[in-house]
């Protein structure tokens, strides 16, 4: 075993032991414990748990890479995945907490006095959460496979085992306290390498400030800001300027950001975290604390992305662009380069057979022509540079010690496990509470419901593990499907339920179906029905080619679906009877904090 493997096994082992210890200490005794952690979670603690619940394998491992290669365009993820908390805090969380029940579909079913509405909400919730959880499982499998020297399947099985221990025994209670521990692990794992790298490149230990500071590698002043230096390095190689590179178009970025924001606010596994605090005022503050803890990572991520991109470019382009010595000799590549080549995340092809690495943008026709004529470059030789490298290989690129690399592995696992557990709870509670107790067996005893909750948790874990080992096509659609569905169905239904007293069951159901229909049609038209290859139905001859709706990409379409939902719901509601008296009273009641008890199941 190498020193790195020993470090990785030790740190991952200690964190797992901690999670199991918490599981034993926080067993659930009632359905209240199982669904909402007994309803007595401190708002700051809940904020921390929410942050871990929210920050997934994608936030931890992939986001910095998406920013590194997307530049300014990557801002949609930064603004979208944080701005949603403002909507959640101001428009949903306090009112849903006042309503005081266990699940999101339960609010929709009660508010719209309709089992149909509740079942539609359950279907959207399960579809969104299952898509989302597959990504966590594959993240766990990859992290184990790459760093702990076990197979991908064995990795997923270990992850399932850990989640099973605390989620089945403790339900929301076990999940809450492990998520707090997982937040601490993941935030150290993310910020420590970032601080080292920021110090190394700018002399400023705070990455948030380092990103704006002067570029001074190893203390040598350059007279240029780090961002200006990065702009220069990438444009010299034909790439788009980092600080101004857009994603699609300005309009696409606008709609994409909006979709991620309302999708974030409408994701049930996040919303149910706010059912665990004692009071309405706690729900308000707790959302603020959640965003504080999330912002620590989200304001660090752009620095990690930019600095990793600069480090990568500098590693390969060692001298002036165009000079023979300017390009790294392949045989002299660093150790980390070899290790990541072995995983397939980095791949080099010597197109001009000179034994040196040319990494440039050959999709830029003018630059590619110039490079070929003047320097004999025959195409970009870095044929694969995976986004995830930017976080995973970052400590090695910056030559940090082994224990930092091991910590990053533990952090990635913590991010994936905490999000998976939250999603699994949302899935299992919608099965045991909304479907079983709500629809099929209203008279089920509390003891049996708790047992049903545990059984559906086991089933959900097995399903998630199976799908992680055999990912279906739609696993690639976390953003398009999970955020698209949350944005186009759940968010509008909840918001109208609170802010439009006149909204009735017909309007809400029609709106949800319209929103989901519009969103999924556009996504499936581009990506295939449930992402099955060959079932795409773009029709360019009818003007329905790729991104036909104002150039908006399918990932960004949730906001358009939400708009359709709002319009259809409001129009249809005018033609149907207003909600009965007691429902209007219910709406008035959720608008006022007084009288909020702890969340209950009846």
């Amino acid at each position: 075993m190498t020193a790195l493997e020993i470090w990785t096994y030790s740190i991952v082992g200690v964190t797992f032991a901690l999670y199991i210890g918490i599981a034993i200490w926080s067993r659930a005794k009632t359905t209240g414990d199982f669904y909402v952690a007994g309803g007595g979670v401190n708002p700051v603690a809940n904020g921390m748990a929410t942050a871990a619940d929210w920050m997934s394998a994608a936030s931890f491992i992939s986001m910095a890479g998406m920013i590194a290669f997307g530049g300014y365009g990557g801002s949609v993820f930064l603004m979208g995945w944080t701005g949603g908390y403002v909507l959640l805090a101001l428009l949903l969380a306090p009112y849903l907490r006042k309503f005081g029940k266990f699940t999101v579909p339960e609010f929709i079913g009660d508010r719209y006095y309709s089992q149909t509405a509740r079942v539609v909400a359950v279907i959207c919730l399960i579809l969104a959460s299952v898509t989302y959880v597959i990504g966590q499982m594959t993240g766990i499998g990859v992290a184990f496979g790459r760093f702990l020297g076990v197979s991908y399947e064995m990795g997923i099985l270990s992850g399932m085992g850990i989640v099973a221990i605390y989620a089945i025994m403790g339900g929301m209670k076990g999940i809450t306290y492990t998520q707090i521990a997982q937040y601490v692990v993941l935030i150290f794992a993310y910020t420590i390498p970032a601080i080292f790298i920021s110090l190394n490149l700018t002399g400023n230990p705070l990455p948030q400030l380092g990103l704006g500071s002067e570029y001074a590698r190893d203390g040598v002043a350059s007279g240029l800001s780090l961002l200006a230096k990065l702009d220069q390095v990438v444009t010299d190689l034909g790439f788009k300027e980092y600080t101004t590179q857009v994603m699609g178009s300005s309009l696409n970025m606008f709609v994409y950001t909006m979709s991620l924001m309302i999708g974030t606010a409408g994701l049930p596994h996040v919303i149910i975290r706010f059912f665990t605090v004692p009071k309405v005022r706690d729900a308000r503050y707790s959302a603020g604390w959640a965003l504080v803890f999330i912002a620590i990572l989200y304001t660090t991520a752009p620095a990690v992305g930019a600095m990793a991109r600069l480090n990568l470019m500098d590693t390969i382009q060692v001298g002036p662009v165009g000079s023979v010595e300017g390009n790294l000799v392949y045989d002299e590549r660093p150790e980390w380069f070899k290790r990541w080549e072995a995983t397939g995340l980095l791949k080099w092809e010597d197109k001009n057979a000179d034994g040196r690495i040319q990494y440039y943008n050959d999709a830029n026709a003018d630059f590619a022509a110039k490079a070929e004529q003047s320097w004999g470059w025959k195409g970009n030789e870095m044929v694969t540079v995976n986004n995830d490298i930017m976080v995973l290989a970052n400590p090695e690129i910056a030559q940090l010690p082994d224990w930092v690399i091991a910590l990053v592995v533990a952090g990635g696992l913590a991010a994936a496990l905490s999000t998976a557990a939250g999603l699994l709870l949302a899935i299992s509670s919608s099965i045991s509470h909304d479907l079983l107790k709500g629809v099929f067996m209203p008279k089920i005893s509390e003891k049996n419901e708790l047992m049903a909750g545990r059984l559906s948790m086991i089933a959900a874990i097995i399903l998630a593990g199976y799908l992680g080992m055999n990912p279906p096509g739609f696993a690639a659609g976390t953003v398009a499907i999970a955020f698209g569905l949350a944005a186009s169905s759940i968010f509008p239904a909840l918001m109208l339920g609170i802010f439009a007293k006149r909204m009735n069951n017909a309007g809400a159901v029609a709106g949800m179906i319209a929103g989901v229909g519009v969103t999924l049609l556009y996504v499936f038209q581009h990506k295939g029905i449930f992402f099955i290859k060959g079932t795409e139905f773009l029709m360019p001859e009818l003007g329905l080619g790729a991104n036909w709706f104002f150039g908006i990409t399918p990932e960004a379409f949730g906001a358009v679906g939400a708009l359709a939902n709002f319009i259809v719901a409001i129009v249809v509601s005018k033609f149907a009877a207003p909600p009965p008296e007691h429902i209007q009273h219910l709406v008035e009641d959720v608008r006022i904090p007084r009288g909020a008890g702890s969340a209950t199941g009846h």
Binding site: L78, M79, T82, L90, L227, T244, G288, T299, R594
Partner: protein, 85 residues
Amino acid sequence: MTPEKRAEYWGANLRLLAILLIIWFAVSFGAGILLVEPLNAFSLGGYPLGFWFAQQGSIYVFVALIFIYAASMNKLDQKFDVGEE
């Protein structure tokens, strides 16, 4: 609580929401996307200003907005005597 008081409380809540959501929109969609190019002519701590809003500033403002909301609503609850005891 009388229906008038109730309506007054809800109206005050909606006004607060409107103000906070205008700021939410202005820092992200406004400064971070629609006005990013003109703002990039200015700089803040070494960042082009529009880029800073998109990748740093908007997030700090979001955090502040939620705490301002929570504190203002607490005051409003007290004023209208609808808070939790």
